[in-house]
Structure formats: structure tokens, C-alpha cells
Amino acid sequence: MEGISKRFGTLLANDDISLRLGRGEVLALLGENGAGKTTLMNVLFGHYMPDSGSVTVDGRPLPLGRPRAAIRAGVGMVHQHFTLAGNLTVLENVMAGTESLLRPASRTAAARAKLAALADRFGLPADPDARTGDLSVGQQQRVEILKALYNEARILILDEPTAVLTGPEAEGLFAALRGMAAEGLSVIFISHKLQEVMSASDRVVVLRAGRVAAERVTARTSKAELAELMVGRRVERPRKGDTARGAKRLEARGLRLARDGRQVLDGAEFAVHRGEVLGIIGVSGNGQGALADLLSGLGRPDAGAILLEGTSIRGLGPRALRRLGVGRIPEDRNRDGAIGDLSLWENAVLERIDDPRFSRRGVVRAGAARAFCKAVIERFDVRGGTPDSPTRLLSGGNMQKLIFGRTLSDAPKLLLAAQPTRGLDEGAIAAVHGEILAARNGGAAVLLISEDLDEVLALADRVQAIFRGRLSPPVAAEGLDARRLGLMMAGEWERQDAV
């Protein structure tokens, strides 16, 4: 790719970027959210038409802005949000778009054999007759990769492939990518996680603000150097100091919940104290989502007690919980946390609209609401919007700052944060961690539900693992290492001594 530039409105997403990819090479494209990584790859794949620049594949110029031409030239892309039809089988998804509509019958047998051969050759097992919608996210990603390979891709682009994967799944993916590179395929993967860039790539191109900030051979660089190149300055995540752990704030006993005939919570127990962060860690799908829902007021357990300062809050809705001093950060900020087409101020006050500050006799006090939003924007450094601009224009990090800001403005007694930094870049993660620790130091009890080991080790005072709806006994985060945590997440805590 030579001299690629792409402008969106006033934003220069790609500014004269040049990129080379060798045969059999794994290239990592590293950068913060908004650095232009995805835009660049969409140009390569033909989704976007660049304002200037050219792309050459195997010495031949690639017609720009045409995905079909890119596919024919051997470029395959696995998007961050998959493009599979959930109601079709794996085989049908892989074949989709490869056959002429005029052909009376499709050649399934040949396709099936080709798919099986590919799956075998690259170690990507997939059941061709499974309904795609029933597969796990990791399996769906395999189908996406197989689909690209089926189309004879020799250059494979993966956009944030590990964002949706668990640790072991990610390792499996990178092993498969290595195998492909060994067979002469070229791989580009987009990431903002330093760890996986270091472990999986041959070469790293760092993008910052639409330009190539640096290019390094992976073996001759370090995490620290890459972090600095990516952000343009040194970023340090805040460290927790000591606080005095106070009285018990939130207690849950024997929580049980069945969903669709599956026991998602099976006797979960924990307690969070004033001035501490309790981290609940687990591989996704072990019941932490259901736990967060229950504590956010989105459901009622089948059995068990939830007590806030000794009083039951079981079955209370979001409004009652907020009034009692529970601040909630949802797991999926785009789905639950904010509404893109409402303005910032509307999102800031929606969950506290029953507060007499923001409404009187059913009429919204827009002036007060805007002032509240403005205060949140200033205090929590939300960038890219005014109280009246639509929320969808905010980046993920700034949207999360808005959500934290509105929640912390209530000075909650209990802060419930579910996956608070998922999908955020390094700078935003540092800001969010800072807020969580500030809340803890200010005397709030914090319940942190996360899948990120580093995050839990950095923030939590005590840790419990969640596995198949059950919680391990709490252990002190002090002196805990990743290996021990990994065992706990696999449900092996019975053999360990609880602290």
C-alpha cells in the first residue's frame, strides 16, 4: 500500500500511509482506538475508497473501492463484528457468494470436501452442518477465517481478532495464524493489546493519529517501547494505594438463578466492604453476566439474599437501586449504557430523571440537566461532544467516561463495574482505572467484574473467581500471580488454600 490517505469530514483518518507485507509474514497493526487501523484495512479490502494512494498485490495494482476485486486478488478480511448469517449452516455461510445465482443446484459435495481439507490443513476444526447462530464466538471466528481461505485468500486481515475471545481461544487462534504463515500466507492483524502483538507477530507497524508512528521487528522491541510509540507519551496505569477496609456494604448469599434451563448462578456468595475493590474474575459465560444483571436491578434471583448495609435489595429495579446509592456501569456500554441518538445530556440524566433536580411534575428541567452534563464533561474530561451533541459521536473511551461521570456524580456507596475497560485504548483504561480507585479511596465499596487478569490484579484488594455459577472463596490480591488466578478461573480452587 502506497501513500494511502482517507478523510472523513474534518477527520483525517489515514494520512499518507505506506505499508508492505511480505509472503509468510505475520504483521501486527498496533494503535489506539481511532488511530486509523480499521480504516486502512477497509481501504485494502475495498470497503472504503481512499482519497489518494494505491494498493499493489503481487506486483499487480488492485482496483480500489471494490471488495470483489480484493477477494479475487486473494485478500480476505475477518471483521470485528462478524458477517455471518446465523440461520445458515457453516457450509452454507462459507459458500455464500461464491456461486452464480443462475446455477440450478449448488455443488455442496465439492465444497464440503474443500472445507474439510482446509479445516484439516490449518487446524481449524468446524462442523459444516452446525447452524452458525448456535456456535460460540470463537467458533464463528473460525468460520470467518475458513470462509476467507475458501475464497483462496493469500492475505488474511483480522480486525481485533481477540476482542471477543477468551485466553485459551486467543492462543489457539494465534497458533493457527502461525501455521498459515508457515504455509506462505500473509497475515495482518489489528490490535491494541501489547501482549499479543509481542507474542504473535513478526513485525509491528504502529499507527498514531492516522500516520505511521513507527515500524519495528517484533523480536527487537519491547512492550514498554511499543506502548510509548502507540500513545505518543508514557502512560502509566494508576496504582492502588492502601486504604482501610471498612464495614460490610454489600453481601450476597446463596444466589441461584436458572436461565433457559441452565443453572447460571449456583449458590454464589460474596461480600464487599467499604473502601475496597472486590474483583470477580472468570472466563466469559460462567455466570458473571447474570450476576451483574441481578445487582443492576435487571432481574430477581430464584433463591438467595442480596443485602445492602444489611437491608435486602433483592428484586429492586434500577431506579430504586440508584436512590439507595448503587452506581452501575454496564458490561455493554453501546447496548445498555448509552443511547447513541440521544444527546449527551439526555443520556446523563435518563436514569436519574426521577430526581427532583431534573424533573418536576413530569416536566424535564432541561437547564439543570444540561448543567449537570456540563459538570460531568468537565470533571471527567469527556472529549468530543457538548451536552447537546448526539452521543454516538463519542469514542468508546469518552462514552465510558460519560457513564462513569454520571454514576460517580451521585457519590454511590456501592459501585458495580462490569467489564469497565473492554475495548478501550490504553489512555482511556488508565482514566477508568483512576476513577475506580478514586471511588474506592473515597470510601465506596467497589465490585469489579472482569475477564482481564491484569485489570483485576491492578485494581482489586481481594479476588474471587467465578466458575459455572459458583464463586471461589476470596483471596487477597497481594502476592497473587497470574498462574494461580488461571487455576482459580478453571474452578481448581478447592485445592488451594483460601485466605
Partner: protein, 345 residues
Amino acid sequence: MRFERRATRSWGLTLLAPLMAVAVAFVVAGGLIALSGAPVIEAGRRILENAFGSRLALTETLTRTTPLILTGLAAAVAFRARVWNIGAEGQFYGGALATAAMAQVVPGPLAIPALMLAGAVAGVVLLVVPVALRLRFGVDEVVTTLLLNFIVLLFVSLAIEGFLRDPLAFGWPQSVPVPPEARLPKLVDRSRLHVGLVIAVLAAVLVYLVNRYTVFGLQARAAGLSAPAARFAGVPLSRTLLTTACLSGGLAGLAGAIEVMGVKGHVSSDLSPGFGYTGIVVAMLAGLSPLGVILAALFVAALFVGADGMSRALAVPSFIADVTTSLALLAMLVAIFFTQYRVAK
């Protein structure tokens, strides 16, 4: 040609969109008029003249505007909260029938407000039930409200040929008339224009204020844009959607009541030339904005009234009005798309 989303929405474009849509519709309709052998300019002049050119024309257009404002509001209110009310036609007839029936019971000076209330309540019932079914059992309200239209229309036939039949109507199937004291006063003498127009405009202003300034308005918008986020924020979803259903169904029922009390004086099965369905077009042309509904209703009404007169004079089929509104709607949908997207370079 490919499209990409605009980063920001410009107000100029948003206001320009309906004007462009109408212009495109007129150009295409002009072609069709030419095709039917009539002089295009002359046809356009006659449409304008028959819609606005005289006292009679103007009052007729405004009479036609009145129910369209109310059914347009009914659609706009519902669609904002993603309640797909396709049943305004049925709610209109339900309201009309309830009004005619109530008129036999309530006498004297109380009659006007009581009859309007009866019409609105009938509309409310006809929409609240489908919405409650959706909330409770997940039944698609597009299907239920659409099919209810046919049920209600058949029930109206049953009533006006049976228990509500006017024995003095020389065998025409129409309901017993509403007594004179329950008829709406005229706005202009020697015309059909009645105070219903004022009520409809006030309703539009009221809906605008509710939408813009109340907690309910904010919650209804939130519920329509993202149900999961509204639920997380503690918006009472069922209550908000049911209240929306009451507002929407009530407006459509009120339209029926006002049409009976203001224009016809009785219910017949040709009371509405599709006011309920045209309300959806009006709401879309208005971009679901309550005040925009007034203008969109006026536009559609003028087109229908004007095209009627034009077709009598020039022997162009009066279906040209239907074609033009449909074209305007299609063009509007394209125009709305272009306020949000642009052609990628």
C-alpha cells in the same frame, strides 16, 4: 455507487429533504400527466386553484386536512417509540362508531366533549390490546393492528346495517345521525370547515410539547431508540409503551369522532378515504415531527382536493393524487436516507 454515513446531521439538509421530495414527486407526476395527454402547466395551475384558489377550495382543503393531522400524529407518536401502529384506519372507524352510538345516549350540552371522549377511548382500546399482547406474548403488532382494521370495518358494516341503522335513510347503510346539538360548530359559514381543525392543530402543539419537554417524552424516545438501554436506565418500558399506545390510539379515535361530528353527522362505510393509512404517509413526510405533521397533512389534503378538481376539468384520472403522494413518500424516504448518508467518493 456506494454510501457512507455522514458524521453530523445538518439542519439545512433535514429541512430541505421534504421540499426536495415534493419537487421530485411533482416532476414525475408532471410526466405522467403529460402522458395522459393533458397540458402539464395547465394541470398544475388547476390543482393549485382547486386546492387554494377560492373560498370553497380553501375550506375544503382544510376540512380534509383536519383528520389527516390527527391520524398523522397518531402514526408519528407511535413510530417514535417504535410501536408500529398500522391500525389507525380501524381506530378511526372505531372512534366514529363509538361517537355515533354514544350520541344516542348522552343528550344536551355535555354531548360534544362526551362524544369526543367516547371516540378517543374506542381508539385507545383498539391499540392498547395489540400493544399489551406484544408486551405479554411477543405478538407482532404490525400484524394485529393491520388485521384489526378489517375486523373493525366489518363490525361497522354490521352496526350500520343492523342495530345502529338509520331507518330514515332510504335504505342507505348508515348510522343514526348525531343530534344537531352534538355537531361541531362551523369555523366558516356556508362551508364544511369546522372547529375540528383548531382541535387538531392544538393536539399537534400538545404532542410537540409532551415530546419535547416531559419525562414521558424523553422516556418514549429512549424506549424507541434502544429498549435495552432504556431498561438499564430504569425506564418503565411497559408503562411507557402502553401510554404511547393510549396517545396514538386516542388521536386516531378522536379523528373518527371529529369527522362524524364535524362533517358527515353519521357513520357510513365510506366515511374515510383511507385517512388512517394516509396518516402514516403524513407522519413519514413530516419526519415524525408533530409540528411537521400539520404541514404534511395540509400538503397531502391540498393535493387530493386539487387533483379531484383538476381531473374533472381535464379528464386526467384523479388517481394522479394517489400517485403523487406515493411518489412524494418514496422520494422522502430517499431524501431522509441522504440526510444521514452521502455518496462515497
